[in-house]
């Protein structure tokens, strides 16, 4: 038995052109047909022929970039938007956490808002009275419930909204990215509540950008791209595929930008503060590759990296040092080294040459990193110094923090019961 069923659902939106936005009563009257002239000439397929089924008791995740149609899908399931074609069937009572506290009136008290919001969401007055204390306790607003809602902070507002909506006790719960605004204490509480729902075999449709949570709580995940389902299946697999797609896109984006930069060599002036030295030895080119020798921009922490430095000596030199430095986006040096520090003895450099630094495993946390590359004398006199001219990205599902991922393993004594991650 399916709790949510979509059959070839399409939803088309009008793309607003300036002409349409300023269309007035007058022009519609002039054209004659009030209704036909409301149609815009440009249409956007927000959801494009989607079919899916979610069985009862299933937690169904939906991921995808902004604008991929996730929220529209949710609104279609909630019945807020009607499909342009195809049909949607939902079994049981729905509660949609699309915008928390959407119906709150700022001038009246939290107490009155709980009642009205509850009624809007389909509860009876009696049911709300019964659940009222529970709602307030969950929202942690015991002391503020009789104050007007306009005096609430956005967190309080959201907590009360969540608390009312979750207490509607629906058969199908729709969640759209609402947990993003909660604080560190409230989000786990919400997740607990969601877990509780799952245990009671209620159906949940969960739209989120928080891939780790999606992976953790969902039984099945759909990845949406451009209004269509790109992939549907087991959470880990889908999330990984999605991440790979993002990485590939970032890579492509980077390549495009790099070409643009190469074409704009005249911008030398602007580059000057990022590059200095008399260039007796000049760094011609710096390339980042993975260990298989493919040029890359986005790496996982487990991957290795090769920094290739193409240099040319315009005059023979005997004193030279190759160095690299890796900085994170806050400008903190994550790692730096050079040939002199590692006791390489320079002998002679003449004409073209290639220096390669091979990093077996990056072991960095998520983020953007900038690279310094330099050739200089042992006393520090620079031939050619490139300051943060190159960048790369580290992307992974693990949300560990800090600067570097120190190689580590966890072990536990048998008294500690803990489930390892599914790999």
């Amino acid at each position: 038995m399916f709790a949510i069923e979509l059959e070839n659902v399409t939803r088309v939106y009008q793309k607003y052109s300036a002409r349409h936005r300023f269309q007035t009563f007058k022009s519609a009257l002039v054209k004659g047909d009030l209704f036909r002239s409301l149609k815009a000439d440009e249409l956007v397929m927000a959801v494009d022929g989607i079919s899916l089924q979610a069985e009862k008791g299933m937690t169904f995740g939906v991921i995808g970039e902004n604008g991929s149609g996730k929220s529209t899908l949710l609104k279609l399931v909630a019945g807020i938007a009607k499909p342009t074609s195809g049909w949607v069937r939902v079994e049981g009572k729905i509660s949609a956490l699309i915008e928390l506290g959407a119906g709150f009136h700022p001038e009246i008290t939290g107490r009155e808002n709980v009642f009205i919001n509850g009624i809007m969401l389909g509860l009876s007055k009696k049911e709300i009275s019964r659940k009222f204390d529970e709602i307030v306790r969950f929202a942690e607003l015991e002391n503020f419930i009789d104050a007007p809602v306009k005096t609430y902070s956005s967190g309080m507002y959201m907590r009360l909204g969540f608390s009312v909506a979750i207490n509607v006790n629906p058969d199908v719960l729709l969640i759209d990215e609402v947990l993003a605004v909660g604080d560190a204490a409230f989000v786990p509480k919400c997740l607990d509540r969601i877990d509780d729902f799952r245990r009671r075999k209620k159906t949940i449709l969960f739209v989120s950008h928080d891939l780790a949570t999606v992976e953790k709580i969902c039984d099945k995940v759909a990845w949406m791209k451009g209004g269509r389902i790109q992939m549907l299946g087991e959470p880990k697999r889908v999330v990984d595929a999605y991440l790979q797609d993002i990485a590939a896109m970032q890579e492509e984006d980077y390549q495009k930008r790099k070409i643009e930069v190469d074409l704009e060599q005249k911008w030398e002036d602007e580059r000057r503060e990022k590059r200095w030295g008399k260039r007796e030895v000049e760094i011609r080119k710096v390339t980042l590759k993975n260990l298989r020798g493919e040029e890359k921009h986005v790496f996982t922490p487990d991957e290795g990296m090769v920094i290739e430095i193409d240099a040319v000596a315009h005059e023979p030199v005997k004193d030279f040092v190759f160095g690299i430095g890796i900085f994170n986006s806050q400008g903190i040096s994550c790692y730096g080294t050079n040939t002199s520090l590692e006791d390489y003895e320079p002998v002679a450099l003449q004409g073209e040459g290639k220096a390669m630094c091979r990093i077996e495993k990056l072991n960095l946390v998520n983020g953007t990193y900038y690279l310094d590359v330099a050739v200089h004398k042992r006393d520090g006199y620079p031939y050619d110094y490139h300051r943060n001219l190159y960048s790369f990205l580290v992307s992974s599902t693990l949300k560990d923090v800090g600067i570097a991922r120190l190689p580590h393993t966890w072990t536990f004594s048998p008294t500690i019961q803990i489930k390892p991650p599914d790999k």
């Binding site: 009563f25 909630a78 938007a81 729905i94 915008e99 119906g103």
Partner: protein, 270 residues
């Protein structure tokens, strides 16, 4: 038609919601004011004082119906202005109501038709707050109550249906044509003077063209209903009011149909 009936049943199911939203509307309106609910009494009172000064003393109306008494004229005026304010403010608010509550329509599964109903109903409540004051003045100025005052609910009902149908039409169309808000305020001024509120109905008898216009105006017969119940103390023209009721019902059907037709476009347009 079957769909309309089904939807009306649906609407009836939302009565608790309507009731709560109306009381919220009323609570929210005067929250933060010193006088609070008393404003519902003071507003019509002040309005009546202004009208009495302007039309009773500065621009005196010499119609024989008022026996040259500015007080009687003020009473006549008040018995028309009060229901008119109900009609005009619910119309103006309806033109905005879907946009103001856009969040409800966009973000939760909310029956949009509740909103015009709430607007008209909460203005009805304001109207009924002013009513005791009106009745009090009827007594003070020596117009005796007749049994016909008991027919007042009939007139109120006709106006309610008429105002509601107009609200449905306005609220739905304004979503697509924001110009209506500007047109409306001017239209209502024109409409106000096309209704026998500042002048007695007998006044237009002399001008054939104007009489036709005034006769075609449903609000004329509704306001005349109030005049007959309260001011003249006689039975209203039940035929005219009956026709107005039929027209109101027809308009209700049209207004609701337009609303229903445009309903699906609300979430993206408001």
């Amino acid at each position: 038609m079957a769909r309309l009936i089904k939807n009306l049943q649906e609407l009836y199911r939302y009565r608790v919601l309507v009731q709560n939203l109306v009381s919220r509307e009323l609570k929210a309106r005067y929250r933060g004011t010193v006088l609070g609910f008393l404003w519902s009494f003071f507003n019509p009172l002040l309005l009546m004082i202004i009208y009495t000064i302007v039309f009773g003393f500065i621009l005196p109306n010499r119609s024989s119906e008022f026996g040259n008494s500015p007080w009687l004229y003020a009473l006549f005026l008040f018995s028309g202005v009060l229901p008119w304010v109900w009609f005009s403010s619910s119309s103006i608010e309806s033109a905005n109501v879907l946009m103001i509550h856009g969040n409800l329509i966009k973000k939760i599964l909310f029956p949009a038709e509740v909103l015009p109903v709430v607007t008209v109903t909460s203005n009805l409540v304001h109207f009924s707050f002013g009513l005791p004051i009106l009745l009090l003045f009827v007594l003070i100025f020596g117009k005796p109550f007749t049994l016909y005052v008991l027919l007042l609910p009939v007139v109120v009902l006709v106006q309610y249906i008429f105002a509601l149908s107009f609200s449905f039409l306005l609220s739905a169309l304004t979503v697509h044509f924001r110009d209506i808000k500007d047109i409306l305020s001017n239209l209502l001024t024109f409409w106000f003077f096309s209704t026998p509120i500042v002048y007695p109905y007998s006044f237009v008898q002399k001008y054939k063209l104007i009489k036709t216009l005034v006769d075609l105006n449903p609000m004329t017969h509704i306001i005349e209903g109030y005049h007959y119940c309260l001011f003249y103390g006689q039975l209203f023209h039940w035929k005219k009011l009956g026709i107005t009721l039929i027209i109101s019902l027809a308009l209700f059907y049209i207004g609701y149909a337009v609303f229903d037709r445009l309903r699906d476009s609300f979430p993206e347009e408001v």
